[in-house]
Structure formats: C-alpha cells, structure tokens
Subunit: 253 residues, 2 copies
Amino acid sequence: MIKVVLLGSGNVAYHLALGLKKATGFSVIQRYARNSTNDYSFNSSIPVARNLKDLAKADIYIIAVKDDAIASLSDKMSGIDGLVVHTSGSIGLSELNDNLRRGVLYPAQSLTINLKIDLKKVPLVIEAGSNDDLTLLNQLASSLSKNVYQLNSIQREKLHIAAVFANNFSNYMFICAENLCNEANIPFEILKPLILETGQKVQDLNPSQAQTGPARRNDQVVIQKHLNELSGEKKEIYKIVSDAIIKTYEITD
Amino acid sequence: MIKVVLLGSGNVAYHLALGLKKATGFSVIQRYARNSTNDYSFNSSIPVARNLKDLAKADIYIIAVKDDAIASLSDKMSGIDGLVVHTSGSIGLSELNDNLRRGVLYPAQSLTINLKIDLKKVPLVIEAGSNDDLTLLNQLASSLSKNVYQLNSIQREKLHIAAVFANNFSNYMFICAENLCNEANIPFEILKPLILETGQKVQDLNPSQAQTGPARRNDQVVIQKHLNELSGEKKEIYKIVSDAIIKTYEITD
C-alpha cells in the first residue's frame, strides 16, 4: 500500500481525498490542516495533523494549498523523504524546495466542494524531478483518472493560460450576455441551451471549425449595428474580439 | 390542419421542416428554393417551388433565408394573405414588407444541418404584428418547442447581441486556448472537460456566481506572469477581459 499525506483542506484536497478513497493501492494516512475550518467536509477517519512536525512518514505528500503558500510550505518540509507534489497549474516544479523529491499533480479542471465531479474524467497533468518519481506519480494519477498527461513546467504554465481563456474568459462572455439580458428584461434562460451547445460542439469539432456569427462572416452591417447598441467594456470587447475573429479567418479562408 | 410554406433551404429551413413533420396540427405543404443545391437534405415528399409566383396558398410562410435577403424577398411577397414570418435574430419585424401580416420566429440556438438537434429544447422567440397573429405563431412555436418566449424587436436585437457574446465570443476564447496549446505542443484534449463544465455550470449557477480564475481573485502576480507570456490579440484580450472581471467584482464584493 502506497501511503499518501494530503496537505490543505480546500476544494482540491477534498476531491483528491475522495478519489484516493476509491483508488486501489493507495491510502491517505493523514491530512495536514492548520485549522479545522473545512474539516467537516472530509472523511473523519483520516487523522489530522495541525503541525508540520507531526507529519506522518509517507511515500507521497500532496500539497493542495493556495499558490502563494506552496513554496514556503515546501521549505518547511525540507527534511521529508517522500515525493512532495503540488497541485497548481501556474507554479513551476522548481518552486518547491530543492532538497525535496519534487513533483506536480495538476487537475486541469476546476474542483468545487459543492459540485460533484467524476475525478476519473478530470485530466491530471503530472511532472516529476526524476524518472522514478514520474513512474510513482503516474501510478498515483492513473489510479485517480483515466486521463493523465505528462507536461513540463513551461507547458503547464501555457496550459494554465489556455485554461484561463477556455474557462474564465468564456464565463465572462456569459456574464456579458447575462448583463445584456437583464438590461432588456430578457430571461437569461433563453441562452442556456446555446451556451451548453457551445461547449458540447468543441468536444467533436475544433473551436476554429465551430466558429460562427457576424464576425466569422465579416458581416459589417450587423457588427456596426451591435457596436452602436453597446457601451463601455462590452463595446470594447465586442470590437476587439470581432476584429480578432475576422483576422483569424482572413488568413485561412 | 394549418398549412405552412417554408422559404429557404439552409440550416434553419431544414430543422424547421424536420420539426414541423412531427408537429400536430401543422403541415408543410411547399418549400420555396431558388435552386436545388440543398434539396437532398429535405424530405422529398414536400413539393418545391422555384419561382415566387408559384407559391401555394398557406396560413403561414416562414422566410428562412440570409438576413440581407429577407426584406427584398418579403417585398416580392406583398400580395400574400397568410402570416409571413422571418427567422432572424437581428432583423426587426418592421423590415418585412408592411403590406404583409408580419411575424418573427427566431430559434435562439445555432442550427446546423450536420448536427442533430432536439428542436423541442431550442428556445423559440416570437413576435407578431397583431394579437391574432401572435396567437397563431405561438401555436406554431409551441408545437415545435417546449421553450417559447415572446419578445419585441428591440429585445430580440439585444438577445442577438447577448448570443454573440455567449456563443461566438466564448468559442473564440476556445480558439485562443487551442492556439496556445498548439504553440506549446499540448494536446487540446486536456481542456475539453473544462470547457464542457464551463457551459454546464451556468445551467444552474448565474455566470456571475460561476466566475473563477486569477482576475476573479485579482491575483496580479499570476495576471502579470500570463501577460508576459502573451503577445498580439491574445495579450490585448487577456488584459481587457481581466480588467473587466476585476471591475465587476470590485463593485459587488
């Protein structure tokens, strides 16, 4: 049995604890959490350490804390023998203390305590400082998910930026849509099937094949009409994104 | 039996023809298509007119042609007795010839011939020039879909702009993500579950509740790191959208 210690008590730690409960060959023997705020979410049979000096001896330590706390936490763990991995998309492997056996286990999907998620389908991106540790981490990741990818820190950083566009920025486009609906007393409900379809479409087609709309057609009449109706950030975003779409297809059409 | 004539042979005409085949109380008695290019897609038992003077007498005529052809087509139909509706999100009711009984039947979702769609779930937005015609159009729309909304032309125009953000612009965010993945040799596959989740999340939560990411947290360290990695339109979009997100939550937090 490969022993795992989970550090942190947020969304990622919670979902990893759930996933590891079902993973064969792995066992979470301890959690580390400075305070008890989120303890209620976790399986109460896992012992909790409140102090780093009480950390149990384990094969893998998973640091699932906020990005800006990872480096200092790893510094305090510098005597540890096991493999120490963080779970952040935007923090390099090298930001972990270099006395440690280091690795990264990044779930490329947002994990929220309140939302059920099938970890088996969550892409896990891994990286490790040695081949042996990569093998161990791959074994751990494969027991949690069917989609495991090995990327280096530079690639993972790029992936994180790509995820900001794919998730955060597309959601902001939904916010703009929501605002426009509210302004005109239109139920936002109307747009929900369209939004769902937008995400479903690119499961099969490339986004560049799935693009439609006035800018895709370079329909300046509609674009100008829309710009006249808009103001502030939404006008600015409409203009820049439309121009970018037009430019994209000018080159390839 | 209420008789319907369908004008046009594109995606919308195709899906309406399919939907009307199953709708009780309605029958497509004729299609109008200037040429035979897309005829193969349609049920061959529907007679086709190639000339407007051959249009059959019907209760409802649905104009499903390109936006810029709607007005002139309706002008050529000015002697018609039935209700004449167009299916565009961005064209006002008043752009149909004013000798006609006018209406709009706008499917607020993109309809592609190649993609199967359950029209019952597609929101249909209706408008008509008189109460009697609104009743007739509502009857038609309700036989096709479970989600029928009545909006005026000003609202429909706003809805169309909102749909550009919700669908076209969010898809462009996926294109940016795809490009970033390609540049760094990262399989775009990794982001597909995240993209699917982004659309699914706002089926239950408001987009403004669903927002996450560096800009939502106003995490300037990550934002600057990302901006340093980007160039061109993607950098500009990253900056403007992040600023807009930060501003959105400054006000409400």
